[in-house]
């Protein structure tokens, strides 16, 4: 009998395998998911009172299967299916179940918000209320999103099946990354739940990595999450304001997480075909390995952004590459680069373009123009903490205000 405090974690750990086992046996995701939720609810009520059973997962599978059978019976009573059902062997847990479940939750027929929500529910084992708190949505909306997603999976006839070796994981990795970034801050109103999303994303990615240790992009994503999350406590200060990377107190970074992330990405880069998540993790690793901002290996970062740009070009990668360029070749060269890409429709109204231009102008000593661009960036951003940060950068460029640290990197 385990300690009761660990119960939510235990249930969450069991949930996806239980669901996968029941779905594999009975086929229909929608009804099985309901049955598993009822089993989890029963466990949450009974276990604190009666103790955790010796084989919790087995207990949950049994209760969920029984519930599913009851549902099946009431549906098909007249068709006399009970006998067949009663003599079916109990579903067993299989290794690849969780992966199959992830792929089902990230089914291409679902919208991305639906994929995220369903993954948190079915694979993450979070309740509707927990998801609602974490995503800052009404519970009814989350409930509706889940039931609609399940219905859609049923309608498209998607089946729970073992993924073929090398099946594309792009959608799964994208969803896990979104869950991570959704939680990647300590600045929103409901800090605890946000951090929980980050932990959940890391936990799920870690499981996936354990299942597919040779997949370079899974390893890259896990490393990226660890290396980014390692800076969490240094990223914000009192009042939730953001601290840019160059000004963070690096002693507050999580050294074990950095060591783990570096080990994972180093191994992946040496053994797997290169991919975008691995390159992003490598960039994060270069930052994390600099004990002081001045020691950052910018030529290396510029090189990695160049590779990332060649492999998976995007406006944001282009912007980050320009920031690295400025650190290597100076702000004037980088400003010329920026002028060349700023006309891209995806960048023209994006706050990040103005923020990078402001940063480069500040480095070049053009204080008035820099202040204007920081203000423009503050107006265009949709992130509250970022808005405050950009306004504060503009404020310290007011005429007459001199700060010796002017010109530092503003990446966070």
């Amino acid at each position: 009998m385990g300690p009761v405090t660990a119960l939510p974690d235990l249930l969450r750990e069991c949930a996806p395998r239980v669901l996968a086992a029941v779905v594999r046996r009975y086929g229909d995701f929608e009804a099985c998911e309901d049955a598993v939720q009822e089993a989890l609810l029963a466990a949450a009520q009974q276990w604190p009172r009666e103790g955790v059973p010796e084989q919790p997962r087995h207990w949950l599978i049994t209760v969920a299967s029984r519930r599913r059978v009851e549902m099946l019976r009431s549906e098909t009573a007249r068709r006399r299916r009970e006998e067949a059902v009663r003599h079916d062997p109990e579903p067993q847990v299989r290794g690849d179940d969780e992966l199959a479940l992830l792929l089902l939750c990230c089914h291409p027929s679902l919208t991305v918000p639906a994929q995220v929500t369903l993954t948190l529910r079915a694979v993450g084992g979070l309740s509707t209320a927990e998801i609602a708190r974490a995503l800052l949505l009404p519970e009814a909306t989350v409930g509706q999103r889940i039931s609609r997603a399940k219905q859609r999976i049923r309608d498209t006839g998607a089946r729970f099946e073992m993924p073929a070796p090398g099946a594309p994981l792009d959608a799964v990795l994208h969803v896990l990354y979104l869950i991570f970034t959704e939680g990647h801050t300590a600045s929103s109103g409901d800090t605890v739940n946000r951090v929980e999303l980050t932990r959940e994303a890391i936990r799920l990615t870690r499981q996936l990595h354990r299942r597919l240790p040779d997949d370079g992009e899974v390893a890259g994503l896990l490393a990226l999450m660890l290396l980014t999350d390692a800076r969490r406590s240094a990223r914000t200060q009192g009042g939730g304001s953001l601290v840019p990377l160059a000004e963070q107190d690096r002693r507050r970074w999580d050294a074990p997480a950095i060591a783990e992330g570096v080990a994972i990405i180093t191994h992946a880069l040496a053994h797997a075909p290169i991919g975008p998540f691995q390159l992003q993790a490598a960039i994060a690793a270069v930052h994390d390995e600099a004990t002081r901002a001045e020691l950052t290996d910018w030529p290396q970062i510029l090189l990695l952004y160049g590779m990332l740009h060649a492999l998976a070009p995007s406006p944001m990668v282009a912007l980050n590459r320009i920031v690295a360029r400025a650190m290597v070749d100076g702000p004037r060269v980088a400003l010329t680069d920026l002028d060349q890409i700023a006309g891209d429709p995806a960048l023209a109204r994006h706050h990040r373009t103005a923020a990078v231009r402001a940063h480069l102008l500040e480095m070049a000593g053009e204080r008035d123009e820099a202040r204007e661009q920081y203000r423009l960036a503050a107006r265009l951003t949709l992130s509250g903490p970022e808005q405050r940060y950009l306004e504060s950068r503009a404020a310290r460029l007011r005429p007459g205000v001199y700060r010796p640290e002017d010109g530092k990197s503003q990446q966070a």
Binding site: L137, T141, Q144, A149, H184, S187, S188, R352, P385, Q387
Partner: protein, 123 residues
């Protein structure tokens, strides 16, 4: 991404309203109720309300720790907020698609604005 669909009342929209038949006005109202249901069913609705007349507004301010109230709208403006939908969708394109289904969009126009997110931060 959360977006708010803002529905303004202004001289243009009031003029259009004057031209509508009883049946058209009923359809207009039912259209909003149906849209709310559709948003809820799709799992995108965060909140949606129509607002009371600005004549029913109360202005609130605090000075020296005292709450001071006065009745009526903030100023004699020609335009005021009549209602809103707050939705959570994947992107602007989806938000615009929902906005296009408001009855107002067919007669006048509605505005889609992104909501500030207190959590996002570029890596």
């Amino acid at each position: 991404m959360k977006y708010v669909i803002l529905i303004q009342s202004n001289p243009q929209s009031l003029a259009v309203w004057e031209t509508l038949s009883e049946q058209q006005r009923t359809d207009f109202g039912l259209g909003h109720l149906r849209l709310t249901d559709q948003m809820r069913d799709a799992g995108v609705l965060v909140a949606s309300e129509g607002l009371g007349d600005p004549a029913l507004a109360t202005q609130v301010s605090v000075r020296d720790g005292k709450t001071i109230t006065s009745d009526g709208p903030f100023a004699e403006v020609k335009e005021h907020l009549a209602g809103f939908y707050l939705i959570d969708v994947a992107d602007l394109g989806e938000a615009v698609a929902w906005a296009a289904r408001t009855p107002d969009a067919g007669y006048t126009r509605v505005e889609v604005r992104p909501v500030l997110d207190m959590s996002e931060w570029d890596l």
